[in-house]
Structures are given as structure tokens and as C-alpha cells.
Amino acid sequence: MTSKETHVKHTRKVAGLVAAIAMGALVLAGCGGPRIHENAQLANSSCGEFDMAVNPWVGYEASAHVVGWLARHKLGCDVKYKDLKEEISWQGMGSGEVDAVIENWGHDDLVKKYIKGDHTAQDAGPNGNKGVIGWFVPPWMVKKYPGITDWKNLNKYAHLFKTSESGGKGQLLDGDPSFVTNDEALVKNLKLNYKVVYAGSEPGLIQSFRKAEKNHTPVLGYFYAPQWFMEEVPLVKVDLPKYKTGCDADLEKVACDYPEYTLNKIVATDFAESGSPAYDLVKKFKWTNHDQNVVAGDIAHGMAPEAAAKKWVKAHPEIWKAWLS
């Protein structure tokens, strides 16, 4: 037998095998089983499409999916989640691609540009969450160095926070590039012997705090609440000089703590004027930091956002009934 003939035979055999497998798969997959039912008239509601921006942190995801779940299952909206950074979300409200931002942290520049400037977005009121920004240490440090939560003692402990990145001074770990920080000015104006080092991302910050608490190594870093990680490791805030209105007016000379943020909702003007029932839901949505942390914690530990939202909704009708009335 020539090699060519063997090859042909071989090919035929393989072909037979493939055909057999394909037929088998078809029989297996096709025979019986439920058929696909089209239902052209979706939920008969006036809601239509509802585009929810989902900014990239888990707490936001929690709020977005609870509101989204209610909009989908109670109002019959066609809810679309769009994973976007903050600024891109605001941009999207101008072009009709985003209807709502459910948790907004200040962002004076964007307020100026999109709310006061071209009026494509509107403030839909506070969402009940209080945003705290500041400097935090892991809990073990507070037990060992009780005075450490007072900024006046920070210089005394600076040597603890020295790392290979901080050039002989204590390291103040700044983090997420999305957050506004005055930390370089604060270090200078409070005459602290620290150097700001940029972790570069939220995972970078969380990993640092997680490791610090586990191995009892010192870390001082910029962090914020509400944040699911706070439920895992309850970081303790360092008290900087108290915030007073206007003390952060000049960013060069700022020497006070960050203000407490009243987190609010932002909606597209078109959406607000559309008469969509989803707008009323967004407008009335309001819950506490604890509520959010519960849902966010579930999501962070592996639950699908929809499932986590559903679980909370089932357990707390007394809270969300008010948002739909």
C-alpha cells in the first residue's frame, strides 16, 4: 500500500468519526427537550430601556443592582448595565447612552461641566450613603500604638512606616487614581515626615491593608467608606485637623481633614423628563452605608450581583416599598 493510499484511508476514517460524533451531538442536543418560545410583547409596561452606569467599585455595583433588580422585576424595565468609569458615565448622559449614576462622590468639575454647563445631567438627590475619605491604619496597630489615630503622633511613628519606596521617610500610601487627593499638600502643611507613594489602584490598596493586618506589618494609607473591604478588615481612621467649610478652598494651603461626602444620584436630563417610572425609583432610592456593605460584601465574596441584590430585596421589603410608592 502506498503512503498516499494509507493517508486517504486514514482521512476517511477520521471523517467517519467526525460525522458520527456530530450526528451524536445533534441527536443528544436536539431530540426532545423544551422548545424556545418567543414572546414578542415583553412586559407590558411604560418603562422601556433603562441604562444604568456601573462605576468600578463593588459598593456602587451593589446599589446599581438593587435599583436595577427592582426596575426590572417590579417596573418591567429593560435594564442595561454599563460598566464605566465615572467621567465616561457623565459623558454618556450627554449622548443618551447613560440614564443614571447611582452613587456620585462630589466631582465638582463634572458638576460644573455637565449640570451647570450644558445641562445634560441633573442632581437626583442624596442616596443616603455617607462617604468618608481619610487616612486609615489596620486595627492591630491601634491596639499596639493607641495614640496613632491622632495626627499629632504621626511623626513619632513615622519610622514604622518606612519602606523601600518612601526615601527614608514614612510611607503614606495613596491609591485609586480616580479619587481626588490633597495628601501631598497635607503632608507638607502639617509638617509630617512622610512621603506620598501612589499604589495606583484600589486592588493595590486593599492588598496592602489585607497583608498588613494578617502579618501585623504597619501601613498608613488613604481609604474610604462605604467599601466592602471595611467589613473584612475594619480599618481605623486617623483624625486629621477637623474639617471646616472652606478650609480646603486653597488646595496648596489645605491643612484639614476631608469633608464628609453626601453621596448623591445623577441622572440624565432626558431621562428625568421622559416620564419613565425608573426615574421615580432612582429619585426615591435611599439606603444606609450598612445596607450597601451587606450587599457589596456578598458580591465581593463571590455572589453574582443580581443574586446578592435579590437576596437583600427579599429580606428588606420595608425599605424598598417606599421607593416604589
Binding site: V8, T11, V14, A15, V18, A19, A22, A25, L26, A29, G30, G33, P34, R35, I36, H37, E38, N39, A40, Q41, L42, P56, W57, V58, D78, K82, D83, K85, E87, I88, Q91, G92, G94, E97, D109, L110, K113, T163, S164, E165, L173, D176, P177, S178, T181, D183, E184, V197, Y198, A199, G200, S201, P203, G204, L205, Q207, S208, K211, N215, G302
Partner: protein
């Protein structure tokens, strides 16, 4: 993977320059001139370094041009203004509204149509128009037709893997974005490549644009891109096109200009027109290489998946980013694995297709009958599968069990935790040693010297190593960096880049020589290298953070993981390329193994070592932004920050430009230096 195909690699090097550098008639240097050049290198480099260090000791900290916190220069604010006027003109400017807007709408609409067809459920229907069985059958049949039976089987297995890993629809979405983007690349790229092969002037104009497209980090222009093309598919496709088109264009131009001249002349003498010649002679002869170019383009497109996810692009990048938010190593790994699988399947299929193309044209179809029979059977089966998958839920929705994704994910999470726990203390020591011993001193020298001292020193070094052309490149690039107002940050980035490149080269020399000498080792290690190169870096950032904390060292580790495979492959191929006769001759002369490596194989593979250094540098530099996410600081962090905060957009874009300037600078110095060494 064909990443080893050096001439076609997606690197920011002008192909014509590459060939021009060695091919310009060498000015037959006299012995004395050659000796003088060598002496300048031997004595000049240490002398410059000594002067630099002395100057640094005296002037440390002066004129460093450091920028603090939220400081911006007028150039950065001008870029902000540019962005704002873009934003304002969106609805009024006819070009933006109708041309750009039209393209954007068309892209969105066609992507949506395709998604409803195969991956997403349209309104009123619980599943896509064609279910998984139909899609799998069609794609397998296509693979059979273009690339043969083996590829068909590979595609079928790959598709099943996507499904059982739990990412059926995300995988198809990524496949769609890649297909649409590469199709656009081909439509734009082929004519551009043809034009470049015809006209030197055109080529000279286009080449720097291609360089920019490949080296300016995508993070830096995501915001304006979204302004133009909106959130979602259209922007995702565009950002992919920008990065994936250059390799295709370069390879097309290269393939056409290296078509055998005799054939072209023969056809010209027959009186063919230019168009006929292109169609009947040049294109068929260049076909195989062009398919390689398309393959390169596909690989580049896949590497944008995680970036496209940041602007609402559909696909596998989404679960990767999502898992990163939760520091979920396992899930990030599984979705990253799906991307790697897709790259492997597409790469092998495209390669098989190009080889088959050649075999068919050369020898004709031997098994025509068998193939035809199989094709008919396949067609019938496919039609049945499509009909089936439109009727029954079971053939429409991918089965949820057995679920391979969750156990693999859990296992990887567990493995990474155990690993971190067991080596955690040693890694800190390594990190501290390298940072204090190497990174800090080097950064101090580069970034704390006055800018004019460092600038002049780098310029003189460039001239000494790479000649006057490297000097010109140095002047231009340093000028650009100064213009961006980010000199100090650029020097910090240069530090981490240099350290990472040294590590990459050490690894390349050690592992590359090993692989080059042992085919067995090569077969085992090469798939690992392929995987390290295609898995999105976001996947290994979290374990890297756990091991080394945030900082420049961690950024360097990430860059090394990404860049070392390319350099290792290049060195291994170079060693393999040493003629067997040479090795045998040396063996019979009684050289031992170490002598063989040092005296025979490495010197003979010198040019590939140079290329490895060059590519290592460029790949390291492309990780600067990712490094910024884990504490690398410097330009990378500014780019990330610019993407995140609207007031800092201009500074981020400027940082992106500075990264490109740094890349061109290092690329030219290493290229010209390597070319000179090859000659002298």
C-alpha cells in the same frame, strides 16, 4: 505563536529603516577609524558615566523639573481645552456629527446585529437567534474549509472549552469584536500597505504614524475616543483597530516589496498594467506573508480585550476587570485562560490556513474527492445544527454542567494563596534588596540629576553607542519629553524600564540558550511562554501585589513576565539558527559545552541577541501603564490618573506622548548600536 517572526512583529520599528540601516553602503572604515570607534566605546562610556556621577554628587536635587500632586503645565491645560472643544463640537460640527457619528452608529448597529445573531438575546427572545450548537457547527465548518480537518477539530474543542469554562457568550462577543476590528484593519491596511510598498515618500509619512499607534498607551486616548465613538462596541472596535492595524500594514508593505524582482520584471515585459501585475503576480506571491500579517493583527486585537472593557466593550475583558475589582485571582485566571485559548486556536488555524494555501497552489488538491464528501456531509450537519439550535433550548443555551470554570478558579485561588503564604517573607527580602541596591541608586542618578546634565549625558551615550543617527533621535526625543513637562516622571519610568530590561536580558540569555540547545526543553517551555505572553497582565497583578506589595519592584515583575518570553524566544531561535556544520566542526575540535556556548553559539547568534534586547525594551515599555496600577509611579501612573480624573486628562495624554518618546529613543539607540556592532 508567530510572535517569534521577528520581521513581522508588532513593534514600533520602521521596516524600511531596519533594512536601510545595515544596507546603506558601509563607509568601508579604515583600520584606524574602526579602532578609534571601538576605543571611543570602551573608554567613552565609562568616562561619560563618571562625569555624570560626579555632577550628580554636586548638583543632586537641582533643576529636576519635578511636578507635584495635581500640578499641570500650560501644555496639559491646552490638551484639556482641546478635549473640551471636541466635546462641545460633538453635536454641532458636521464632520463629527455625520461622518464620525455615522461610522460610530454603523459600527454599533452591525455589532448589535451580530450579537443578537449569536451571543446575546434580542428583545422578546430568551436566547440569540442561533444557539451554541449552530454557532459551533458553522465555525467548525469554516475552519475545515479554510484550514483543514485538524484545525476544524481544534476549533470545535476550543469552542467547547469556552462554554464549559462558563464564558460562552463573552467569548463569542470577543470573537465578534476581534473579527469586525480585523476586517476593518484589512480594509484599511491592505491598500495602505500596497501604497507603502509602491512609494517611499508615502511610507516615510505613514511609518511614524504607525509607530505612534503602537506605542502611545491606549489609556491615554480612551477619553477622546469615547467622545467620538460613544460608550460600547464602536469605541471598543476602534481602540482595537488603532492597535491592531499597524502590524498588518507593515507586513503587507514588507511582503510586497520583497516579491521576487525577476517575476515582476517578467510580467512587466509582457506589458501588464500596474494593477494587473498587483493582482496576478504580486498579491499571489505575497499571500502567505500577508496571512501572517493578519494573524499578527488578530493577536494584537486580542491583547486589547481588557482595555476595551473599560469603555463598555463587550467580551472576555469584562470578567477579567470585574474579578480584579474583587481581587479574585481564580476568576481572573479562568477568563484570562479563555483569552489565551482563543489566541492559540486562532493562531494555529490561521497558520494552518496559510500553509495550506501554499501547498494547494504548489501541488494542487490531492484529496479533492474526500474533501468534497466531507464538505457536503459537514454542510448538511451544519444546517441541521443551526435549525436545531433555533428550535430547542438545549441546543440554544450552552449547558451549565459540567462546570469547569469554578473548580479551576477555586484551585488557582487556593494555589496562589498557598504559594504567597509559603514564600511571603523571602519575597519581601528580594524586593528590598533589589530596590535598595539597584532601583533607588539608579533612579537617584537619573531623576535627581539636573535635567540638562542627564539630558546631555544620555545624548553623548547615544552617540557613542549608536552613532550620529542615534544622537539625532536622542535630541528629538528629549526635546519632546521636555515639551510634555514631565521630565522627572520620564526619568523615573526610564529607571524601572532599564532595570526590567536587564532582568529580561539575563533571563533571555539563560533560558534562551538552554531552549536553543535542547529541543526537548523547547517543546515543554514554549507553550508556557506563549501563555505568559497572551494572558492579560491584569490576571497576575493581584498575586504579584500579594508577594511584593505596591511599588516599583512589583511593576518591574509584571513587565518581566510580559517581556521575557519574546526575548527568550528570539535568543532560542538565534541559537537554533547556528548552522549544524559549525557546531559539529567545533565539537570535533574538542570544545566543551561551556566553550561551545560562549565561543561559538552566542557569537554566531549575536544579531538575535541584539534584536532580543530591542524587543525586550519595547515590550517592557508597553507595560509602563500596567505598572502604574501597582505602584510603579512615573509616567504610567499619570496616564492612569489622566484617564480617571477629567482635570488631569491633559497631563495623562502628555505622559502617553512622553512614553512614546522614551520608546523611540531607546529603540533607536539599541537598533543603531546593534547594527554597528554587527558591522564593526
Amino acid at each position: 505563536m508567530t510572535v517569534t517572526d521577528t520581521s513581522t512583529d508588532g513593534r514600533p520599528v520602521a521596516p524600511d529603516e531596519e533594512s536601510a540601516a545595515p544596507s546603506t553602503p558601509p563607509p568601508t572604515p579604515t583600520r584606524s577609524r574602526r579602532a578609534r570607534l571601538a576605543a571611543a566605546r570602551v573608554w567613552g562610556v565609562p568616562a561619560v558615566l563618571a562625569v555624570w556621577v560626579a555632577g550628580w554628587l554636586v548638583l543632586k536635587g537641582r533643576d529636576t523639573l519635578a511636578l507635584s500632586g495635581a500640578d499641570t503645565t500650560s501644555f496639559h491645560r491646552w490638551l484639556n481645552g482641546l478635549r473640551d472643544s471636541f466635546d462641545a463640537a460633538r453635536d454641532t460640527n458636521w464632520f463629527l456629527k455625520y461622518v464620525v457619528g455615522g461610522v460610530s452608529d454603523a459600527l454599533d448597529a452591525s455589532m448589535q446585529w451580530l450579537q443578537y445573531l449569536v451571543s446575546q438575546a434580542p428583545a422578546g427572545r430568551p436566547v440569540p437567534e442561533v444557539g451554541w450548537l449552530g454557532v459551533a457547527a458553522v465555525l467548525t465548518l469554516v475552519a475545515f474549509v479554510v484550514a483543514g480537518l485538524r484545525s476544524a477539530l481544534l476549533v470545535a474543542v476550543g469552542l467547547m472549552a469556552f462554554g464549559y469554562l462558563g464564558y460562552w457568550s463573552d467569548s463569542l462577543d470577543l470573537l465578534l469584536v476581534t473579527a469586525v476590528a480585523v476586517a476593518i484593519c484589512a480594509v484599511i491596511g491592505l491598500p495602505t500597505g500596497i501604497a507603502m510598498s509602491r512609494s517611499r515618500a508615502f511610507s516615510a509619512v505613514v511609518t511614524p504614524v504607525l509607530d505612534m499607534m503602537q506605542t502611545v498607551p491606549a489609556f491615554a486616548y480612551l477619553t477622546p475616543l469615547v467622545l467620538l465613538f460613544g460608550i460600547g462596541s464602536a469605541s471598543a472596535v476602534m481602540v482595537t483597530v488603532i492597535y491592531a492595524a499597524p502590524p498588518l500594514i507593515r507586513v503587507t508593505a514588507h511582503a510586497l516589496s520583497s516579491v521576487d524582482e525577476g517575476a515582476v520584471e517578467a510580467s512587466t515585459s509582457l506589458g501588464t498594467t500596474s494593477w494587473q501585475r498587483l493582482r496576478t503576480v504580486e498579491m499571489p506571491m505575497a499571500k502567505r506573508t500577508i496571512i501572517v500579517g493578519i494573524n499578527q493583527s488578530i493577536m494584537a486585537a486580542l491583547s486589547m480585550a481588557t482595555i476595551a472593557a473599560l469603555i463598555g466593550g463587550p467580551g472576555l475583558g469584562k470578567p477579567v476587570q470585574d474579578a480584579l475589582q474583587k481581587l479574585d485571582v481564580g476568576t481572573a485566571f479562568v477568563s484570562g485562560l479563555a483569552i489565551v485559548l482563543m489566541a492559540i486556536v486562532l493562531d494555529r488555524t490561521m497558520t494552518a490556513a496559510s500553509v495550506r494555501q501554499e501547498v494547494l497552489t504548489r501541488t494542487g488538491d490531492k484529496h479533492r474527492r474526500v474533501r468534497l464528501a466531507l464538505l457536503v456531509a459537514g454542510l448538511v450537519g451544519t444546517v441541521a445544527a443551526v435549525v436545531d439550535s433555533r428550535t430547542f433550548l438545549r441546543a440554544a443555551r450552552f449547558p451549565t454542567s459540567p462546570d469547569l470554570g469554578s473548580p479551576i478558579g477555586d484551585w488557582v485561588s487556593h494555589l496562589s494563596k498557598t504559594f504567597v503564604n509559603s514564600v511571603g517573607s523571602t519575597t519581601s527580602a528580594v524586593k528590598d534588596a533589589v530596590t535598595y541596591g539597584m532601583i533607588n541608586p539608579l533612579q537617584s542618578l537619573l531623576a535627581e540629576s539636573p535635567f540638562w546634565l542627564a539630558g546631555v549625558a544620555i545624548l553623548v551615550l547615544a552617540v557613542l553607542l549608536g552613532g550620529w543617527r542615534a544622537g539625532v533621535a536622542a535630541v528629538v526625543c528629549e526635546g519632546v519629553i521636555l515639551g510634555t513637562g514631565l521630565w522627572n516622571e520620564a526619568m523615573i519610568t526610564l529607571t524601572t524600564t532599564l532595570v526590567a530590561t536587564v532582568v529580561v536580558m539575563v533571563l533571555a540569555a539563560l533560558i534562551g540558550v538552554w531552549l536553543g540547545r535542547s529541543p526537548k526543553a523547547d517543546t515543554v517551555v514554549r507553550p508556557v511562554l506563549d501563555a505568559a505572553q497572551t494572558i492579560p497582565p491584569f490576571v497576575y497583578l493581584v498575586p504579584a501585589l500579594a508577594l511584593f506589595d505596591v511599588g516599583r519592584f512589583t511593576a518591574i515583575v509584571a513587565a518581566v513576565i510580559y517581556a521575557a518570553p519574546v526575548a527568550i524566544k528570539l535568543v532560542a531561535d538565534g541559537i537554533k539558527g547556528v548552522p549544524a556544520e559549525t557546531v559539529e566542526a567545533a565539537e570535533s575540535a574538542g570544545t566543551n559545552r561551556w566553550q561551545m556556548i560562549r565561543k561559538v553559539q552566542i557569537p554566531m547568534a549575536k544579531s538575535s541577541l541584539g534584536l532580543a534586547a530591542n524587543q525586550g525594551l519595547i515590550y517592557v515599555l508597553s507595560m509602563v501603564v500596567i505598572g502604574g496600577l501597582v505602584g510603579g509611579g512615573g509616567l504610567g501612573f499619570l496616564v492612569v490618573q489622566g484617564f480617571s480624573q477629567s482635570t488631569l486628562f491633559g497631563r495623562g495624554l502628555a505622559a502617553g506622548i512622553a512614553i512614546t518618546a522614551l520608546g523611540v529613543l531607546l529603540d533607536r539607540i539599541t537598533q543603531y548600536a546593534a547594527a554597528r556592532r554587527g558591522r564593526g
